[in-house]
């Protein structure tokens, strides 16, 4: 029966030593150990969160980069397109201008030719008139050399008048 009979002396020493053990361990072991464990866990959680955040940020940046590249590409394309259009326009305009110029030059040439022609014709006209007056003078001089002839001419003229 001694086995199940508590012993006062042992109880006394056990309570004292266990209380001291409890006090010493709580103060000098468990508190620092549990604090260190907690701190480490906290720092691990924090680090993991930070890593996740960094990852997200990176993804965001990458996404942004892609967007920017795409935008740049689009910009470039539109620029090229614009440039092409501009080029075409310029060429077209130049062509048009050239055409107009050519037309103008042609017109001018034509006008000057016309003028020249008119001038020449006028000159010829004048010369023909002068020549015909000369000829008529000469003919008249010959024809009106005698009386008979003058008379027949007057008659003839009178006859023309009457006919009119």
């Amino acid at each position: 029966m001694e086995l199940v009979k508590p012993d006062l002396g042992l109880l006394f020493w056990m309570i004292i030593s266990f209380s001291i053990l409890l006090y010493v361990l709580i103060k000098f072991a468990w508190k620092p150990i549990l604090k260190a464990l907690n701190d480490r866990e906290k720092s691990i959680t924090k680090s993991l969160l930070a890593a996740q955040k960094a990852k997200d940020e990176m993804a965001k940046i990458e996404f942004g980069n892609e967007k920017i590249t795409q935008l740049a590409k689009m910009e470039r394309e539109s620029l090229i397109k614009e440039a092409k259009e501009l080029k075409n326009n310029i060429i077209e305009e130049a062509r048009e201008n050239a055409k107009l110029e050519a037309k103008k030059i042609l017109e001018e040439a034509r006008q000057s030719v016309e003028q020249e022609k008119n001038k020449v014709i006028n000159e010829i006209k004048n010369q023909v008139a002068a020549l015909s007056v000369d000829i008529a003078e000469k003919i008249l001089k010959q024809k009106l050399g005698d009386e008979a002839k003058q008379k027949s001419l007057i008659d003839e003229l009178v006859k023309d008048i009457e006919l009119n």
Binding site: L10, L11, W13, I15, S17, L21, L25, I33, L34
Partner: protein, 365 residues
């Protein structure tokens, strides 16, 4: 072929040993016949053998050689009305000697305890006995060991702040985390577990270390600390007092005014409150008994298997040798089982304490 040869060799060896043993036995018998000093026990009593190893004692028995018991004497501290506080070495009480009217009782209510006797050697009284017994020394040793281990681990934590554990720290960290997360946090809850964790860690490691030290057969192990009812009672009392002190309104109202129970079970005759109150007391009592019984039983089984050798050896020396390998195998097996039980019992005591703390600090629904 080799195996056969080996077997033959073993049998031959055993035979040779047996011859020698027989011879020495005969010599011994002659010795004991001649010298009355050696009070050799002729009959081996396994009960006494086991009991002597399990119980507490005033000296620390190391070994017995040629009938002489060699033990480390420990201080005996007594208080009685006549002589006041008295202290002397336990070696003065060895072999039934008496010192200053004190002796170790051989029979009666105080068998194996120190009693005060009168001049005729008759029982007078049991003095107040706060001797440093074998178990007290073992408790001191384990406490110092724990303080050394855990303060050094704590200093490692300080030195290696934020780094991975190393050495002893990495051996103990999983256990510390196990107690904190799977015992304290799981049973008490996120809100209150922090104030109980240090106590739970202390009892867990105290029980575990003493369980394991109890399995070591040589000094400073081998004392049956956690298989001693006084030690388990103290641990259970600590749990009981902490539960009672930290018990909140909800805990006490559950005991004295249990919700969900018809009023007539409470009002004229407080049946349920009585049962509940009884439960409050029975919980630490069960804690005490469970640890004590498990560890003592383990020691008893190990010692029982050892006793087999001597029981059979008493019948015939050859039979003793024949049984010894088998006995050894069983002892080793049970010892391994005991290592497992050492962990399980430390775990069970701690988790039940944690559950009681959890009940005491649980918030109302």
């Amino acid at each position: 072929m080799n195996k056969l040869l080996l077997n033959i060799l073993i049998v031959l060896c055993l035979f040779a040993f047996q011859q020698q043993a027989n011879a020495s036995e005969k010599l011994k018998e002659k010795d004991t016949e001649h010298t009355e000093e050696h009070i050799e026990k002729k009959e081996f009593n396994p009960g006494d053998f086991i009991f002597a190893h399990i119980r507490d004692s005033y000296g620390w028995h190391i070994f017995t050689y040629k009938g002489h018991h060699y033990s480390i004497p420990l201080p005996v501290i007594l208080y009685c009305k006549d002589q006041g506080i008295i202290s002397f070495s336990s070696s003065k009480l060895a072999h039934g000697h008496s010192h200053k009217n004190f002796k170790i009782a051989l029979e009666g209510d105080y068998k194996d305890k120190i009693i005060e006797v009168n001049d005729h050697g008759e029982f007078k009284a049991r003095p107040l006995d706060i001797s440093i017994t074998k178990n007290v020394v073992a408790i001191f040793f384990s406490c110092l060991l724990m303080i050394y281990i855990f303060t050094s681990v704590a200093s490692t934590y300080k030195k290696r702040e934020g780094k991975a554990p190393k050495g002893l720290q990495s051996l103990l960290e999983p256990l510390i985390l196990f107690v904190r997360d799977d015992i304290a946090k799981a049973s008490i809850g996120e809100k209150h577990y922090e104030k109980f964790t240090p106590f739970l860690l202390t009892i867990f490691f105290f029980i575990l270390i003493n369980n394991l030290l109890g399995l070591v057969p040589i000094i400073p192990g081998g004392a049956n600390v956690t298989g001693n009812i006084t030690v388990t009672m103290t641990l259970a009392l600590f749990t009981f007092f902490i539960t009672t002190i930290t018990g909140n309104k909800n805990y006490w109202s559950h005991i004295f005014n249990t919700p969900g129970v018809p009023w007539w079970l409470k009002l004229p005759l407080p049946l349920i409150p009585f049962v509940e109150l009884f439960g409050v007391l029975i919980k630490p009592f069960v804690l005490m008994i469970r640890l004590f019984a498990n560890i003592s039983a383990g020691h008893m089984i190990v010692l029982g298997f050892f006793s087999l050798i001597f029981v059979f050896g008493n019948m015939s020396t050859g039979l003793g040798y024949l049984v010894s390998p088998l006995s050894l195998v069983f002892t080793i097996f049970v010892s391994m089982l005991e290592i497992l039980v050492a962990f399980i019992q430390a775990y069970v005591f701690t988790i039940l304490s944690a559950i009681y703390f959890g009940m005491a600090s649980e918030e109302g629904h």
